[in-house]
Symmetry: C2
Amino acid sequence: MTAFHFNLVACDGAARRGRVMTAHGSFETPCFMATATAATIKAMHPEAVRATGAEMAICNTYHLMLRPTAERVAQLGGLHKFMNWPGPLLTDSGGYQVMSLATLREISEEGVIFRSHLDGSKHVLTPERSMAIQHLLDSDITMCFDECTPHPATHEQAAHSMRMSMRWAQRCHQAFQKREGYALFGINQGSIYPDLRRESATALKDIEFDGYAVGGLAVGEGQDIMFRVLDETVSFLPQAKPRYLMGVGKPDDIVGAVQRGIDMFDCVMPTRSGRTGQAFTHRGTVNIRNARHLNDPRPLDERCSCLLCKNYSRAYIHHLFRAEEILGPMLLTGHNLQYYQDLMVDLRKAIEHQTLTDFVVGFHEQQARGDIEVLE
Amino acid sequence: MTAFHFNLVACDGAARRGRVMTAHGSFETPCFMATATAATIKAMHPEAVRATGAEMAICNTYHLMLRPTAERVAQLGGLHKFMNWPGPLLTDSGGYQVMSLATLREISEEGVIFRSHLDGSKHVLTPERSMAIQHLLDSDITMCFDECTPHPATHEQAAHSMRMSMRWAQRCHQAFQKREGYALFGINQGSIYPDLRRESATALKDIEFDGYAVGGLAVGEGQDIMFRVLDETVSFLPQAKPRYLMGVGKPDDIVGAVQRGIDMFDCVMPTRSGRTGQAFTHRGTVNIRNARHLNDPRPLDERCSCLLCKNYSRAYIHHLFRAEEILGPMLLTGHNLQYYQDLMVDLRKAIEHQTLTDFVVGFHEQQARGDIEVLE
């Protein structure tokens, strides 16, 4: 069993090219993790997800504690075996979902009491319980349980929320059962306020985590503000540990965040869009449900190597979505994940070759060219 | 381009082991065709369907004429290219679906005027139009357009309906554009009445088709009556041509029909059941949604080689169905298709080795053993 560690392989400006070792294998960074909320990457066989180049997936504590329960997953041999994902897994702590999905929440210093969005049953999530659940799931990277600060928040609200999350981070660190190859990440909070982001970073560094996430962004503040907060926040984080921007994002969000020194990403966008007919392509986003694809014999994206682009016409994918056939979401999710993984490959190569600036110029030209449709 | 033909390889009692050559390759019989109603086998990549052993798929004239239209499929290079199915394809004529799905039908000697179940638009389907549509689709095996006699039907109703279908069969034969490797099958009707089945068989043989289907069964008459009608009807059909029992059926229906000399089958059961949680296994049918699978670490069917049985526990599949995750239908459809194809392999081997009687005894013992649940 190898120890959990992060190798920094190359830098290009603030951008970093690295490799993370975990108990279940390594992954290259910058990386995009496939979203496997309920222990499945929606509409995908896990083998097909790995074939896109994805080395890492992210599951959700909130969803799995309710169904099938962490105890049941543990009894069945852990999450990797349960969902047939032999590679590294990260689990979100449930903090965000308790706020966005659960009902009748009561938040206190101790933790959160809430009712399940599935059946109304009552549950408690505390820093200690979140650590125990993620341990039962056998997650390679455990995330601290924090409060997701709403946006917008006043400086006072953001400070109050962030400071409680930092006290919870200390409790997570104490409760986390260290094992060789397994990691615990702290989560930086502080909304859009640089002084709070700095205070949060200092608090986390004092506790000492295996990696540092930036939380509370991509919640409606807009890309300009997100990038400004990132510029400031990343400068407060240690160089030697992986950095994870939670829940981000669109392709150009990822490109900009990589330029600012982020190593890890996750987002429902490629999978969710894949189920609704939105495609990410080398000429921007495309809505395959649009009638102009009705007779189009061309592949969706000539530069893509996925099953959809190799074997089918735009007209066929359009037909599948019009007819509400499951193969539509299956193929388009696969395509979108391939697009995201290809983007990460390109970003990693560009950092290695010190050509990131040129790559980013080309990326924005490409995205602006051709038949762009705005992703709603 | 090879001519369409049927090679009879071996017999065991009335059961036949054969091979059918078509313009898009050959298939072994007895065969079970994968249902691809709207030019997709629901919840399956076509490569994965072929990996189960399926060599042949069946699409539907009614569905495809409405969406995306036969003209569009033709313009896009035909059905094989459109849906990425390089192997042989059969198309149903639309007769059955016009009766079961369309609204405001007016049936006359000329054909059927109806309204689409999708948007209420008005359409006409005649023997000539059905032939033209199936030609545009580029179907390897075209089915005659017939009237599906309702069940139950009096002798008079059944005779009237069958005789119109026989006149339509003559018009189909005249309208069908012969091409090397392409075939037209006639459809035997006559409800449960032996004299009408014989009259229908004689009429079809006089016209001379490339294969003969038995229609109007598995419509609620029960297995005993179906087998009795089959015993009689098959004896009226030519030995040298393939025989196709339309829309059948459950595994034991197929076994019994193979014993009675049927070569080809199609049924939505494995795919539709796969989407609702019903599994076909070597110990009978299983409802994976049942709570007793909640903690079960065993594979669904130890004798099966599909992705589901190789890589997942019953508990995981149960979880996927409870959580309404698309991977559940994907995996279970794959399993059910594998079960059906494995059954066809076993039947073909048993006929080759003249051991069909023993195989059938073993099959029924297996199905009666273990934790059988009745398929609703």
